[in-house]
Amino acid sequence: MKLLSFVWAYLPPKRGQYVTSLALTGVEGLLTATPPLAVGLGLMQLARGNADFASIWPYAAACFLAVLIRIYVIGQAWKLGYGAGNYASEQVRNRIVDHMRKVPLGALTGRWSPSKLATLITEDGRWINETSTFYLVRFLNGFVATLMLVLFAAMFEPLAAVGLALAMGGGVLLMVTAKPFLESFIHKRNDMVGEATLRIGEYADGIAVFRSFGRADEAQKSFRSAVQDMHDTTLSVAPVIVPLQQSGAALITFAAPIVIVLVAALHLSGVYSADPMTLIPALFLVLAAATTFLVGVLRTTLPLELGSRAETNISAFLSSPELGGTRTDFSDALGIEFERVSFRYSEDKADAVSKVSFTTRKGAVTAIVGPSGAGKSTLISLLLRFHDRSDGEIRLGGLDTLEADPAAVQSMVSLVSQDVHLFRDTLRANLLLGDPSASDARLAQVIDAARLTDLVAALPDGLDTMLGDTGKTLSGGERQRVAIARALLKDAPVIVLDEATSAMDPITERAIQEAIAELEDGRSVIVIAHRLRTVIDADEILVLDQGRIAARGTHTDLLNNDPLYGRLWAAQEKAAGWRLR
């Protein structure tokens, strides 16, 4: 049981408690089976004509007391088990958060998006909690109780056990054999439905555009046919899927009538005669066993399956590789060296970056330019270890980044990009992320340098204004400047700039430029430039094309020698002189 061993790993100090709880659950299963057994035996006594108090009272008492004892036992079992389960799910959640701190950031943008992770922590964490305790306890209880009832029934009348075994075994067998068939069928249906869903979603997304081109009616026609397709597909497969899903559980209800038919038929044919007296408790136990099996075992398998799905999700995340490296002894020169670095996002894809080599010096400006999709951002993500390179070597301050402590790499480099995350907190707290210990004077200095003074003055509560979706929303330009202020506070010696691509009004653009100039002052800079004009003074410009460095040099060198750079420059100059009309 994978789920159990997963939970087990997070239980250490509570393992004894958990095992005791499971053991008590077994006892409770036995107690659940007691009343039907006692009543059956009592009935047998009565049928034999022993109607006196002395022969009846043990059964009556057992039936009554079993319930009382069960209340006590289940209470103990829940208390211990839920306590342990609460503990384990807390540990699991902490482990997930811990792992989030250690995986390459690239992993958190692809398969493990923020919303996925939030679901992992809250929803899957909750399923782990509920299945590891409630449903597992219930399953165990149902299993033990069913087993006891079947055994008791067999003791009184072997044919009862035969009937139960036929119904239960047949049901389970049916479920197991139907499962792959059912899954492939559902899979096929989901493919068809997925196709239709895509077309339905597209209508919802594009309706404004369709309408503005006066094509809403045609779009709706295609939408309607997609909806109709989906309707027809789902309807045509329902008569197959629904019975398959229910067949397993359906068989168990046949148990009691089957036993009756078996007993009577064998008696009439003279092959075997059951004792009518022991048959009374046996029939009664068959009913109890069938009900217990259905409610306690079959109905808990679905939640348990959901629980193990949650376990699979969490385990998949936890088994994704963590960033390694512990060294922090960067040399003072703090140059960056890329040596024949290659990277591909997955094995079956082409290199996003191929055999790239370059070196930057402390205090220099290195610009990376090139057409969109050339691999500019990928280079940066490799330096910052958002992804680990596939080949080659990257050194920061003489240290291989794979051997360096990821946190130390982070503290050496500030990334300023268009993508700025603000927390639901005050502006002050958002700024202080750069350096929680910064003094008010330092903070004021940085706000000034990042050209945020006017913004702070305009906010209702100044620095203590809440930001985020419940508070004040900042414009793109303002967010950029918050990011620059953070970077100023962080004071890392290397600055990596990914120039904004979206249009901004000139006054905002100018304010950001001023803030960037303050940030660049006295640091080493790597800049991904979209406008070639901003980097003509760079110490070195790398022209990237299709993942490779096509040319390198100063602006003048490149303009004279590199056709690609020349083409980009000419296009830019042409664009700069363009007038509408």
């Binding site: 039907p36 895509l198 555009v209 909806v227 038929a265 205090g363 982070q410 691509t501 979206s502």
Partner: protein, 612 residues
């Protein structure tokens, strides 16, 4: 209802939200009203199945009656068994039929709802479909309607099974022996009582639990969203401490609640499933004393099992009905969205001129435009500039009637846009915005959105004019390459040129451009500019641009600030005036001269200026 303390917290949550389960069921039935015959048939089959589900219990009951009588009629016992088997088989058949019918209804209703919403989307304002609710609309039409299936297809047969079977059983038992029936019910009633008390005492903890759960969801999402940022500043320890604080709070709260709820919770849990507690003990004595006949008692015991796990079934159903309630609410938001008012008289637009007459517009209580007036004569070019949030895009949206003005009027060719038939209006206006929608279809089909009957040659000519022909022919299947979600990914600049080709094909006399030429890489930008220049020829143009040199030749530049027109005039006039536009122009020119540099390049003018 549930006796499990954890689930109780969840459920108390739901009942404290004031959700009545019965009205939800009624609303579901109302939605399915068109297919009520099938619904009733499904309920009928479900009821039949529920009654037949008593077969195994009745079979055992009759068998027991026979076994305690003397002599035993074995051939009768065989018949009882055979009837039992047939009864169960019939039950499964009827239940299957009921489920099939309810699925039919569910699928058909889902289809109808989607059709209804699609119609609705053609009647709401374009702004409604295009802004805040875009993802929501998709979500409602695709996913939420999908989940309604559970309510419509499963709840009907299952509710009939869960409610009818126990009721019939109880009636049957009362008929057999009312004293025994009471003995059976007593522990269960006591269990219900305990449960009620527990639910009541759960109200306080429930609020706390909900609160912690909501905070855990928020904190987790925020932690995940911001992990890159906190790690960049090595502040992840602090963030994860905040998260683990909430996890701890959750555990403590659960543990505390467990302490309080364990006794009533376990008692209720056991009692609700212990119909034999008194029936088995007291009943035995009663039978021994001769107050009840042995055969009757035996039969009664067997039937009592048919009472089943009523509570488990009801619990699961109430959980699911609650979910349905939420979905129905969200569905109604879209179904009740305000529709665009249209006086659908065919009116003639005199020309392609645009007039805004004292126009005001608000989003909620926030006025984003106030008394904006201007005229753009046919064939002229008006540029809108201003800081972000000044209302430029809103003006463009009002012209295209994505929204209706709150006050004043927008006129095209002298006609109020509210009096022009929407299709007619859209035929006169082409849009090129930054955000481009491509649908699943080939490149050619996407371009042909501009004019459905355009020939291949016309499509190609449009693509050539839009400077898109070259990259299209480089695609694996040229004009027949599929695009969209499952198709090929194009760069922003390429998408933009496809949208320009559409607009060229559409050949509308009015053109709205919103930041259409601002593209990152220089080559794309230059190509798009050429394409736009071609498109703009001979049309009335309203252009929004941050890159001020591109609009230097506009016939008029209107400068907006905080929703008002603060300046207007030609480029030269405005620069000479020394107002907001002049300041923007100065900032723009300085920005063009910006150079990245560190202190090692002190000769750079920008550094000196910035370090003042």
């Amino acid at each position: 209802m549930s006796s499990d303390p954890k689930n109780t917290l969840d459920e108390a949550t739901q009942s404290s939200d004031g959700v009545q389960l019965f009205p939800v069921a009624v609303r579901l039935l109302k939605i399915m009203n068109r297919y009520r015959m099938l619904v009733w048939l499904s309920i009928l089959c479900g009821t039949g199945a529920a009654i037949l589900s008593l077969s195994p219990y009745l079979a055992v009951a009759f068998a027991l009656i026979n076994l305690v009588s003397d002599p035993i009629d074995w051939s009768w016992v065989l018949w009882i068994g055979v009837f039992g088997v047939l009864g169960v088989a019939a039950e499964k058949g009827l239940f299957g039929l009921s489920t099939y019918l309810s699925h039919r209804v569910a699928f058909a209703t889902q289809r109808d709802l989607r059709f209804e919403l699609a119609d609705k989307l053609e009647r709401v304002s374009l702004g409604y479909t295009d802004t805040h609710s875009k993802g929501e609309i998709r979500n409602t039409m695709v996913d939420e309607i999908e989940v309604l299936e559970d309510g419509m297809a499963h709840l009907v047969p299952e509710v009939s099974a869960a409610v009818i079977a126990p009721v019939v059983t109880l009636l049957l038992m009362l008929v057999i022996d009312w004293r025994l029936a009471i003995l059976m019910i007593l522990p269960m009633a006591f269990g219900m009582l305990m449960m009620g008390r527990m639910m009541k005492s759960a109200e306080g903890p429930t609020r706390d639990y909900m609160d912690v759960q909501a905070r855990m969801a928020t904190t987790s999402a925020e932690m995940a969203d911001g992990i890159a940022t906190v790690r960049a500043f090595n502040q992840d320890a602090q963030a994860s401490q905040r998260a683990s604080g909430i996890f701890r709070e959750m555990r403590e709260l659960s543990d505390n609640w467990l302490d309080r709820a364990i006794i009533p919770g376990t008692t209720a849990q056991v009692l609700l499933t212990s119909h034999l507690m008194l029936l088995g003990s007291v009943g035995l004595f009663m039978t021994a004393a001769g107050w009840v006949e042995l055969a009757v008692y035996a039969a009664f015991l067997a039937v009592a099992y048919g009472f089943g796990d009523l509570f488990a079934a009801i619990q699961g159903i109430s959980h699911r009905l609650f979910r349905q309630h939420e979905l129905l609410e969200r569905l109604d938001v879209l179904r009740n969205a305000p529709e665009l008012q249209t006086d659908a008289k065919p009116v003639a637009m005199a020309d392609a001129s645009i007039t805004l007459d004292n126009v005001a517009f608000s989003y909620g209580s926030r006025e984003v435009l106030s008394s904006v007036s201007f005229d753009v004569p046919a064939g002229r070019c008006l540029a809108l500039v201003g800081p972000s949030g000044s209302g430029k895009s809103t003006v463009a949206r009002l012209i295209g009637r994505f929204e209706d003005a709150a006050r004043g009027a927008v006129r095209i060719g002298g006609q109020d846009v509210r009096e022009i038939q929407p299709d007619e209006l859209h035929r006169h206006i082409a849009y090129v915005f930054q955000d481009v929608f491509l649908f699943n279809g080939t490149v050619a089909e996407n371009i042909r959105l501009g004019r459905s009957n355009a020939s291949d040659a016309e499509v190609e000519a449009a693509a050539k004019a839009a400077r898109a022909h070259d990259f299209i022919t480089d695609l694996p299947q040229g004009y027949d390459t599929p695009l969209g979600e499952r198709g090929l990914g194009l760069s922003g600049g390429e998408r933009q040129r496809i949208s320009i080709a559409r607009a060229i094909l559409k050949d509308a006399p009015i053109l709205l451009l919103d930041e259409a030429t601002a593209f990152a890489d220089p080559e794309n930008e230059a190509l798009i500019q050429d394409a736009v220049a071609e498109l703009a020829q001979g049309r009335t143009v309203v252009v929004i641009a941050h890159r001020l040199h591109t609009i230097a030749n506009a016939d008029e530049i209107v400068v907006l600030d905080e929703g008002r027109i603060v300046e207007r005039g030609s480029h030269a006039d405005l620069v000479a005036k020394g107002g907001l536009f002049a300041r923007m122009w100065a900032a723009y020119e300085t920005a063009q001269a910006f150079r990245h540099a560190t202190a090692t390049a002190p000769e750079n003018a920008v550094i000196t200026e910035a370090a003042e």
